[in-house]
């Protein structure tokens, strides 16, 4: 089974990396870029784990709930 986890900085929290990349894109001939937010993408290969446990781990280990949100997709 494959699990995909996307961890993104919360909307209200500053994402300095996203800002720097947005500015770089502007200089790169893409002034149309309004905003960039950068998070993590994790591909997890797992054999028969239950979803509740995966959610728990997303919350406790893979993301930092104080500043990040996560999304878990199972395939």
């Amino acid at each position: 089974m494959k699990a995909k986890v996307i961890v993104m900085p919360k909307q209200s929290v500053l994402d300095p990396q996203g800002v720097a990349v947005r500015d770089a894109m502007h200089h790169h001939g893409l002034p149309q870029v309004k905003s960039v937010r950068i998070g993590k993408f994790m591909e997890i290969e797992v054999e028969g784990a239950d979803e509740a446990k995966l959610h728990e781990i997303c919350r406790d280990l893979l993301s930092n709930p104080v500043i990040e949100d996560y999304r878990l997709e199972l395939q």
Binding site: P9, K10, S12, V13, L14, D15, P16, V19, A20, D23, N64, V66, I67
Partner: protein, 741 residues
């Protein structure tokens, strides 16, 4: 302003404002405050900004001296002369509560804040220190795991910010003790260098001068963080925490360079960083210092988020922002420089002559408060103080096997090598670090001034818990001793007072005792206090933290030949103990770590003796006799000797013979009596060194010889032996091993 909440007693209480304080606000304004004004008062009158609970105590510090160019409290940081037209600005600041919530960002933004305090003075920041306290980190319990997470996060956060901005973190201290569980202490120190004529002021001078906002856009970060830092952390407060501030060291690096470049042009009339209480604090303080008024329009403030209210903008604690008052006619210079550095900037207001802090929102008045009343007329409280019953003197204690006790001490994270930490810090950038972390004090060459500085931070909070006054005195003495051991003469002090809730009389008493102890110590060593920080409400469900008045001390080394390190150098060198064997066992790490007891009376400090010891050591160093010097602190003589052997890249052994003493072996090896230093000198100089000290009234005694692959201690007819490679391995990897458990 239509949908602003009504001012109810409940709302007032939520802002941490008492009914009396509310009356005071009304009399200042001559009317009821609106919502924005209420928010402004609440942050400015929080402990964090107003020191309302600690100010009368802080007045006890000596702040003056021949070298003091800017005194504590006048500006963001004090400034001290170091000769030849050069000066230094330095200060320490805490970020305890933010780090408890989000260790990485909490610590990172702490570093960012103290760096801004320094370059606001016109100084180029050249190095940092950090003083940290956590719960225990070795073991398997959930609590210990949390402590490890906090510790790892804080260290990574400090590394992230300091490394990226390119200011070396060259020293510090770390203690692990259960009293900090859930409420770690993160105190960060930064020092900057400037020419006398470059001192910048945080005052809004010159009626009609434009006010610029520069740096990062304002978002809803850390709304009212200062108020947050001024109350106890509870599960609830952790829930309703403000949006966490995220540090951007890259932006701060640009801000630092742009501000220094702008200051160089001479067109700045006043400059102030936006730290705690952000735009609120910077506008009313500059106006108050300048004896002027400041009017700003929030519509012009660069913002990151849409539809922010005046309340939110004024209370935001977004990082990496500054307020600059520019001499009229020089606006273009500001624009050019900030454009060069690709930084946001905006002309947001003007200096007025009416003494008001006036906040407009697109032309409409959103807040209007007499600036100096807001900044300087916060209520001041003298809290009740109730002495804690003094610690019982130690009568008797069990004797442990001294051989394994030394190992146990060296393995404890409080005493073990901190390389796991400082390897993560770039401690060599700026090519000035002459003595790297791992010796008594860090030594830094300030190239532009051709001056050599030494710096250290110290505080044994176990002593302070058992006797706050004596503990605080020892913190100053130990800092001065660490500087003496590195060959330096102390110049000045900054401090960070970390205590529990001041409404509890015993906590307030501890604060007062510690302040008086620090003040006494600073007088003895002629080290005025240049500034510092107070962090109260450090509590966890088990009670207040151990009182922790951290001392940061800076000294000057006359000549590069006098730079001294703590490790033994060459086989055959004579080892000399200055200051005698000591005997005091109360509050020692031996009792705590080996016997699990935090008890007894801490050692006493005799300042005359201590000062004489430093003077003698410095004169030995000046005469070129000393090859190494290391003081006895946590763990006593045995730990000091072991550190002399193992705290360098390649350990070297030593053979020590104490002869017959009238002390029990564990007492001889692990007592923490003060005013003692282990030095090594070449064999031929041994007799001269001993004679010189004795002539000055300092007990000095040759106790052994450097060399071999073992540390051997003989006393009272017994002999103990440890291979130095084993000691080194244990001590060097202890923290790493705990962290990878």
């Amino acid at each position: 302003m239509t949908n602003e909440p009504a001012i109810t007693p409940d709302l007032i209480a939520k802002h941490g404002i008492t009914p009396d304080e509310y009356e005071r606000i009304k009399s200042i304004l001559g009317r009821e405050p609106n919502f924005t004004e209420l928010g402004i008062f609440s942050v400015m009158w929080s402990e964090h900004c107003s020191y309302k609970n600690s100010k009368p105590e802080l007045r006890k510090f000596p702040t003056d001296g021949p070298g003091v160019l800017v005194k504590a409290g006048e500006e963001n940081a004090g400034v001290i002369d170091i000769g030849d037209g050069w000066a230094i600005a330095f200060k320490m600041e805490s970020h305890n509560h933010p780090s408890a919530i989000e260790p990485f960002q909490g610590a990172a933004t702490g570093v960012g804040g103290i760096i801004r305090d320094i370059f606001t003075m016109g100084a180029r920041p050249v190095f940092s220190l950090n003083s940290l306290r956590f719960g225990e980190i070795c073991g398997d319990s959930a609590g210990v795991k949390t402590n490890r997470r906090l510790f790892a996060g804080v260290v990574a956060g400090i590394a992230h910010y300091g490394n990226c901005i390119g200011i070396p973190t060259i020293g510090g201290e770390i203690y692990f003790d259960e009293s900090y569980e859930g409420n770690p202490l993160v105190n960060v120190f930064c020092l900057g260098v400037l020419r006398h004529e470059q001192i910048a002021r945080g005052a809004a001078k010159g009626i009609g001068n434009p006010v610029f906002y520069v740096g990062a856009e304002t978002g809803r970060d850390g709304l009212a963080g200062a108020a947050f830092a001024s109350r106890e952390l509870t599960e609830e407060s952790k829930q309703d925490r403000p949006a966490v501030q995220v540090g951007d060291p890259f932006k701060e690096k640009l801000l630092l360079e742009a501000c220094l470049e702008l200051l160089e042009t001479g067109c700045v009339a006043g400059i102030q960083d936006m730290g705690a209480a952000g735009l609120t604090c910077s506008t009313c303080e500059t106006a108050s210092r300048g004896g002027t008024g400041v009017e700003i329009d929030l519509a012009k403030v660069p913002k990151r988020e849409t539809s922010m209210t005046p309340y939110e903008i004024m209370l935001s604690e977004s990082q990496e922002r500054m307020l600059i008052i520019v001499k009229k006619g020089h606006e273009q210079t500001v624009r050019d420089i900030f454009e060069k550095w690709d930084l946001p900037y905006a002309e947001v207001g003007v200096v007025k002559d009416d003494g008001m802090m006036r906040v407009l929102d697109g032309g409409k008045v959103a807040a209007e408060i007499p600036a100096s009343k807001l900044a300087d007329d916060a209520p001041i409280y003298v809290r009740d103080a109730k002495p804690k019953s003094p610690a019982k003197p130690l009568q008797d204690w069990p004797e442990a096997d001294s051989h394994s006790a030394l190992l146990q001490l060296l393995l404890h994270p409080t005493i073990a090598s901190k390389n796991w930490v400082y390897r993560q810090y770039d401690h060599m950038v700026r090519a000035g670090t002459c003595v790297l972390p791992g010796s008594d004090a860090a030594v830094f060459l300030v190239r532009e001034a051709n001056k050599i500085l030494a710096a250290t931070s110290d505080c044994n909070a176990l002593y302070c818990a058992l006797d706050p006054r004596e503990g605080a005195k020892i913190a100053v003495a130990e800092a001065a001793r660490n500087l003496a051991c590195s060959g330096a003469v102390p110049l000045a002090v900054t401090d960070n007072l970390n205590f529990g809730n001041p409404h509890k009389p015993e906590n307030f008493w501890q604060l007062r005792e510690c302040v008086e102890g620090l003040a006494e110590g600073c007088r003895v060593f002629n080290t005025p206090v240049t500034g510092g920080n107070v962090s109260l409400y450090n509590e966890n469900p088990g009670g207040a933290i151990d009182p922790t008045p951290t001392v940061g001390m800076v000294g000057l080394i006359e000549n590069e030949k006098q730079i001294t390190t703590q490790f033994f150098k060459d086989a055959g060198d004579a080892i000399i103990l200055l200051g005698g064997f000591g005997s005091e066992m109360g509050a020692t790490q031996y009792l705590k770590i080996v016997h699990g007891k935090k008890e007894g009376t801490p050692p006493r400090i005799d300042f005359d003796r201590e000062r004489a010891l430093h003077d003698s050591l410095r004169s030995l160093i000046r005469s070129g006799l000393v090859k190494s010097a290391h003081d006895c602190s946590e763990g006593g003589l045995a730990v000091a000797l072991a550190e002399c052997c193992i705290s360098r890249e390649k350990p070297i052994g030593a053979e020590i013979d104490f002869g017959a003493t009238d002390l029990r072996l564990d007492q001889l090896l692990f007592n923490e009596s003060q005013s003692r230093i282990v030095i090594s000198v070449s064999k031929t100089n041994a007799a001269a060194a001993v004679a010189l000290c004795e002539w000055r009234g300092i007990p000095a005694r040759r106790i052994g010889t450097v060399g071999g692959r073992e540390l051997q201690l003989r006393a009272n007819g017994t002999s103990l032996l440890w291979p130095v490679d084993d000691l080194h391995r244990a001590w060097y990897s202890a923290i790493r091993n705990c962290m990878t458990e």
